[in-house]
Amino acid sequence: MFVCNCKNVFSLYEDQIGKFDWKKNLIGTVKYSLFAKDVNQQTVIFAATEENVVACLCYKSGNILWRKILEKGNLGRINALHLYNKIIFAVSGTDVILIRGWDIKYGYLISQWSFQLHPNEVFQKILWFCSADKLYKLFFLPEQSPELETFKISNGEKLSQKNIFSLEPVYTIDRCAVNNGILLCLNEVGFATMNFTNENFIFHHVNFNYTIDKQYFVNAHTNTKIAVFTIYDGIEKFSVCIDKNLEFYKSNAISEIGDVNIITLSSGIHVTITVMPISQNILELKGLEQHNERTLFLRRFVLKFPVGQVTISAIDCVEKVADQIICSILVTTTDGSVILLKSTGELKWMREEALANVVTGEIIELPMSDTEAEMQTEFDAKESDVMKMFIRRISSHIFQLQKLFLGILGMLEKSFSTDLDNGSKLVRDYFNLHKIILVITKQLKVYAIDNVSKDILWSYLIKYDFEPFPASSTNEIVRIPLFIQRTYRHYPHPMQCTILVKDKRTKNGVIISFDPVTGKFESELKLDFKIKQAMLLPKQTINDYLQGIMILKEDNSIYVYPEYAKTVMLDITPNLYVHVAEADICQVNGYMFNYKVNNTVLIPAWNMKCTGKIIKVCGKNPIEKVHSQGRVLSDRSVLYKYLNPNLIVVVSQSFNPEDQKSMLTLYFVDSVTGVIVNGDVRYKASDPVHLIHSENWVVLIYYNDKARRTEVVTYELYEGKTQKNSTETKSLRPIVDSRVYVLPTSYVEAARETITEKGITSKHVLVALSVGNIVELPWVILDPRRPFSSTNEIKEEGVLPYIPEIPIPTETIINYNQTLNRVRGILTSPTGLESTSFVFVYGLDLFYTRTAPSKTFDLLKEDFDYVLIIVVLVLLIMLTFISKHLAYRRALRQAWR
């Protein structure tokens, strides 16, 4: 009853929609795109992306008009995009090929058919090509002749039998592309072309006087009236256009960072269009007529955010009068941005689609305003000399006065000019509710997003020759370690964040540091070794309050960044430990440090072997605070929590030969001593696996293969009724409670616990479901102490009786009706308000909101009636005075009688 009531409060009122939350819909990196006219003759852009999304974008604004999210992974991989008869078709899949057609205006499904590929066709390259109402499937088996099949795209009717034609063995499938019915295959000396729409299957060979070195790359451009191919030979790029009679025209070669394409005017004149990045923020668009080398247009576009290498994805040209064309060029970049350029010099819009590939992130506190910071430094002062302190006090007052003056002047100025300075706004507010969401994407693009306005404050593209670390588990794409080396507290030192990446070529580590508020990238340090593991040192350097990063090299020696943090590290080496888990050999090694002045060496401390493959190693959130040291039982005694900060949970996945299913093994390891304090095995448990480790509890979410349902196991660790050592944390063997619950839903995509500043507020577990909901589960429901039979004592303790199913009332869905697709992770962060926790969900969509697990006990309600309170107070005060006056008059009259 109580729980039911309590939940009603979690829900949102209708008028609060969008007040505390925002959502950014994304489509992912564009793979195929085409311009089209919708039923109202308005231009729209269709895009098929790496994230398996088919989207219809507005030409004017770049907003998503509709989007269809296909199956995840290879199942929904889009192979071709085609528009025919007001239906947009997408060919997807690698094993089962699905051909679906949607209405271009509203995006509803019109047709769908599928066919299964022959087993030896799967995992081979197949070229798909659509022309009018036909779908061509061009298939190459190694060392065999290609086969061509033709289907009717709307219903899958087979239009022709398998046509086999011969291709010289010097051509391989990797160097073939198909466009507008023309097949082009490259080899070392030239290329072969064939028009297969007329079904005579004769290759036309062209020798070419250029040398193809190492890399070959041929790319077919969709949506061109003629067949255009871009050939990249490892150094340069050029375009070739081939007409129906296999006559070809070659464009000028350009550098690999740009792209080139050819369009044909109605007069038959070829126009070469090149897009070239001049710098990370400037693009140059050029249109060159073929026959007289006349420049039709030459424009430069200044972009708001940096981009990498560009590719022309689609071109739409309109011929107004003779020799006058207006082109719209859709450009995609290696970092995932989509830009629509117009040859008139207009930058229509830019979409930051890299945000659909967020790998990691952090919600960062803003720095204090200058005045506050000055005050902070005043109290932070190290010297204790009275005179100096006095001088400091006076000078700080003068500074504050000066600030006040400037503020007044500034206000005056602001009233004249309306534009606001972006930088000056980025200061923390009273409750610390204004923060920066820092995210790093797979493409190594760093974004800072304002959590209130959802604007991108800055973006930075890390050099192309670096790459992230490989993923360790199936629900990651890549790994990018991110450390906050210095927080906002140390004015005037700016904040510092550091990410670790590696060099593409040498695989050596690279350290990149930046200020997350301004987006200023300070240093980029290339190391001469490979990074095995890294950790943030718990102590700051004395002079500039920087927490060093200890990097473990491949050969188990250490490196400290920055170098001068080594002295700090030496101070704490007796109490410093590090562990490295090797996923594939299923082994965890613990090390301690041998203190030496000039050379600190690692000494193996412990070693743990397991079977299978390690999929998770999960410690606690270092910023987490636990307020309550124990739990009160019904007899009013205390069950003390086992709060070992060095406890890690290692999960290994292995194959169980008995039931032919995968199983998960959990090890609760003290990472200092290597003692396994607890362990558990979950049979028939398979991916997706999610693990949360916080306070004294652990939640494991997995899919039960046999029961075909998602199960949640919760563990709680207790020291017992007495605390062995109440001042220091020590490793002990805890008492463990555990329960298994059933989550009545499909797969779980991500899970995270909420976090608050002081840890007083109870914790909720946020679970992202594959259906697109983020569910907030209170700990009361996941409690491992829920008993099988309800007694009075238990009722008094406030524990619910055990019911295996976890109820999911709609009020607990924090994203209400805004479906979040393909969630990859959840970030949580405390705020200045103890009751409130920020939640940022990333995946294909970005979603930000705030939650109050124990309700907003430190805030007045939204509907608090200030007017009424003020009116009542004023009335009461007035009444007091009036009655006082009346009483005085009455007393006077009495006296006269």
């Binding site: 095995k532 593991q533 950790m535 307020h627 309550s628 039982l633 009013r636 205390v638 060095n646 109440s726």
Partner: protein, 176 residues
């Protein structure tokens, strides 16, 4: 005057009354006492009684005062028993009253002791003190049975300091 009249008639008889002879001076004089009434004798008797009683009275009164708190104990116990073991406003108010009254009495014990005199003063003071203490005890017992006293470990849990971290450890899956 009355005495003179009695003396006059003494020689006749003790019980005769003369209503006839009455001079003007006698008439204006006060009426004689009725027979058998000797004001002097009566006065003397009361005086002696009053003197003997006052000491006893002081002791008695002091005992009343000293036993006052003790006498309240059964009533308080009954009240407390009737209040039940649920935490609600009335039991709390009742206990509060008992405690406040007794504690106030204990604080103003010097004034109360000033009123206590006599031979038994010492024991009376002790009884008075004990009585108040017993009242406080009754109230505290009730608090205890209501669960309002911080006698359990759980009551001090909020003040437990978090443990200090000694060792630091980090790491995770290898980046290689």
């Amino acid at each position: 005057m009355a005495n003179s009249t009695v003396k006059l008639d003494e020689n006749i008889t003790k019980w005769t009354l003369d209503f006839s002879s009455k001079t003007k001076a006698e008439k204006s004089a006060e009426l004689s006492s009725p027979p058998g009434y000797f004001p002097s004798i009566g006065n003397n008797q009361i005086e002696t009684i009053r003197e003997a009683d006052s000491a006893r009275l002081i002791i008695k009164k002091s005992w009343d005062l000293a036993l006052g708190p003790i006498k309240q104990v059964p009533m308080n116990m009954f009240l407390v028993y009737m209040a039940g073991n649920s935490i609600s406003i009335f039991p709390i108010m009742m206990i509060g009253m008992i405690i406040i009254r007794s504690v106030k009495a204990l604080f103003t014990i010097q004034q109360a002791f000033k009123m206590i005199e006599g031979k038994h003063a010492a024991s009376q003071k002790i009884v008075y003190f004990i009585g108040n203490i017993v009242n406080v005890g009754v109230a505290l017992y009730k608090c205890q049975s209501l669960g309002l006293l911080p006698t359990h470990a759980s009551d001090w849990l909020a003040f437990a300091e978090p443990q200090i971290r000694v060792e630091y450890s980090g790491g995770g899956l290898s980046y290689l």
